[in-house]
């Protein structure tokens, strides 16, 4: 083979197979989902048979029926993101600036828990924090916790589970942007009469902002759509929008409502993300 092709075409040829695939299996399904979301059941038809009637009221009904779960999804996801940021920032900072030649080993250790199935890890937490683990009985014996209080099956457990599961997604981008900071700029700040806190606020944080933005997005987006943590660690009172979509699909076979919910979720996330990126003032993410 020789390069007789006009050079202009090369990138398009490279893109073609991948984009054809993404078009067929990402764009098309999303368009189809939009189409499904305004269907209504065929009168007198079987379960699962729908026709297009442009019933935009599906959206309103879907939203109104599941306000609570929507609110919960965004509150839990926000909390999990904030906690993950609080835990991951010092960790990423320590790896970037304090681990010397062991940097790569620590990075591997951040990712390593990933390799054990995340379901197994979530179930492990459930058992550690459950009635038969040692944490709850110990805390009860010490009277830190009431005899009937539990950790699992509560909102606390769901948020904690999400925080844990998405922690590496937060840590890696934070590390990547912290690692790029020239340590001399931090020294320069100290040299110019800024104490530790001021240096952190005025130099470290602004310089690591791209990592903060990337990390919070990578945590918030999957957390808002998650239902696995809620179903393993939670109770019916901690149902999130993901649980609703899942059961609409599999148990009730109500495709239009599930589609409308999915679309509402996606739109809400996209709007929040756009606002957030604007506010944070970084647009180099893509």
């Amino acid at each position: 083979m020789s390069f007789t092709l006009p050079k202009v075409r090369v990138p398009y040829l490279l893109l073609f197979p991948g984009f054809a695939f993404l078009f067929t299996f990402f764009i098309l399904p999303i368009a189809n989902l939009a189409q499904t979301s305004t269907q209504t059941p065929i009168p007198g038809g079987d379960t699962g048979q729908y026709q297009q009637t442009f019933a935009f009221s599906n959206y309103l009904n879907a939203f109104l029926d599941n306000r609570e779960q929507f609110a919960r999804s965004f509150i839990y996801a926000t909390l999990a993101t904030v906690f993950a940021l609080a835990i991951a920032y010092p960790l990423a900072y320590a790896i970037a600036f304090k681990s010397g030649k062991f940097k790569n080993i620590f990075l591997v250790l951040v990712v390593a828990p990933f390799f054990t199935s995340f379901l197994l890890r979530t179930i492990a937490w459930k058992q550690i924090l459950g009635e038969e683990g040692f944490v709850v009985p110990t805390l009860r014996n010490l009277h830190v916790m009431g005899q009937s209080t539990t950790i699992t099956s509560t909102a606390v457990a769901v948020v904690a589970g999400m925080t844990y599961n998405f922690l590496p997604f937060m840590t890696l981008p934070l590390y990547a942007s912290l690692e790029r900071i020239d340590p001399r700029t931090i020294e320069a700040s100290g040299d110019l009469y800024a104490n530790g806190i001021t240096t952190f606020r005025r130099v470290t944080v602004p310089l690591s902002l791209p990592g903060v933005v990337a990390g919070t997005l990578l945590t918030f987006i999957p957390a808002a759509g998650d239902y696995v943590n809620a179903s393993i660690l939670g109770s019916p009172n901690t149902k999130m929008i993901g649980n609703v979509i899942e059961s609409r699909y599999f148990k009730i076979v109500d495709y239009p409502t599930a589609a409308a919910l999915s679309f509402t979720l996606m739109a809400a996330i996209l709007i929040l993300v756009t606002l957030y990126i604007r506010k944070a003032g970084t647009e180099e993410l893509v």
Partner: protein, 278 residues
């Protein structure tokens, strides 16, 4: 001019000042110990309970046994599920790495019309919640009367892995010094040889990393798989279904083995990288 003070006694630094500095310096290191402990508690738990002589429901410690490790396929369906996950993971890794690498080269190496749109198309699947990806793809399969199962799952996995491959490989390409390619051409290598002998070997670690990432994403995926696999059982699905009754200890054996295997691969990769860059 300077005066010599060699004969003066050596001044020492007060203990209090030393300690507060030591503490300030090591606070983060202490924090790191706690952070990693937190990350590894469930991993250690999973590993410990893979030795539990518990039979079907691995909830309470009943005694030490090596039986689960000697007979990892002991629980019904578990090795079938594992086999499916490995097959799906391998295929998804292969296709997503090829497609993603091509896209990464196009975006990372060329300036062309529609480049920013391309970037957006890569970013969107990552910004879409998994449940929406899974549900929308299932709807499409249903429209075309394709039954969920093995191949629909592979397709679904390729779809969400491609973006991650592109991002990983693109980062590697961006970090390359373009002068290396210019130097190769200066030394009489044509475009094809330059690509083969200079560009590709330099980007290879990025591609390997992307493939490892794709495999681990695919292997561990539950939500999208749950929508598109129908009655096919994968390892995460097996765990999820079994969770209601208590998972068999063999699942812990497999989870722990995957952990050690992946860790070994990553560490070996690091060692090779270190030796090469020496």
């Amino acid at each position: 001019m300077s005066t010599s003070v060699k004969d003066a006694s050596i001044p020492t630094i007060p203990f209090k000042a030393r300690f507060s500095r030591w503490f300030g310096r090591n606070l983060l290191r202490i924090y790191m110990v706690f952070g990693f402990t937190y990350l590894f508690i469930p991993v250690a738990y999973t590993f410990a309970f893979s030795f539990n002589d518990a039979g079907k429901s691995n909830l309470i410690w009943k005694g030490f046994t090596l039986g689960n490790w000697q007979n990892p396929c002991g629980a019904p369906q578990i090795c079938n599920a594992l086999g499916n996950s490995i097959k799906i993971g391998a295929l998804a890794t292969l296709f997503s790495t090829i497609l993603g690498t091509m896209i990464a080269f196009a975006i990372g190496r060329y300036k062309f019309k529609g480049r920013s749109t391309s970037n957006l198309l890569i970013f969107l699947p990552m910004a879409t919640p998994e449940i929406v990806l899974g549900a929308s793809l299932l709807s499409l399969f249903l429209v075309f009367k394709i039954n969920p199962g093995f191949w629909p799952t592979v397709i679904a996995h390729v779809m969400f892995c491609v973006s991650f491959v592109v991002v990983t490989v693109k980062a590697r390409i961006a970090s390359l010094d373009p002068r290396l390619e210019q130097a190769a051409m200066d030394l009489y290598a044509n475009e094809r040889e330059t690509f083969k002998r200079v560009t590709l070997p330099l980007v290879a670690p990025g591609i390997a990393g992307a493939a490892l990432l794709a495999f681990s994403l695919s292997f561990d995926d539950f939500i999208i798989t749950n929508f598109n696999s129908g009655t096919l059982i994968t390892f995460p699905k097996f765990v999820y279904v079994a969770a209601a009754r208590g998972i068999p200890a063999q699942a812990n054996v497999i989870g722990s083995s995957m952990f050690f295997l992946a860790l070994a691969i990553v560490i070996a990769g690091q060692l090779v990288h270190r030796r090469r860059s020496r």
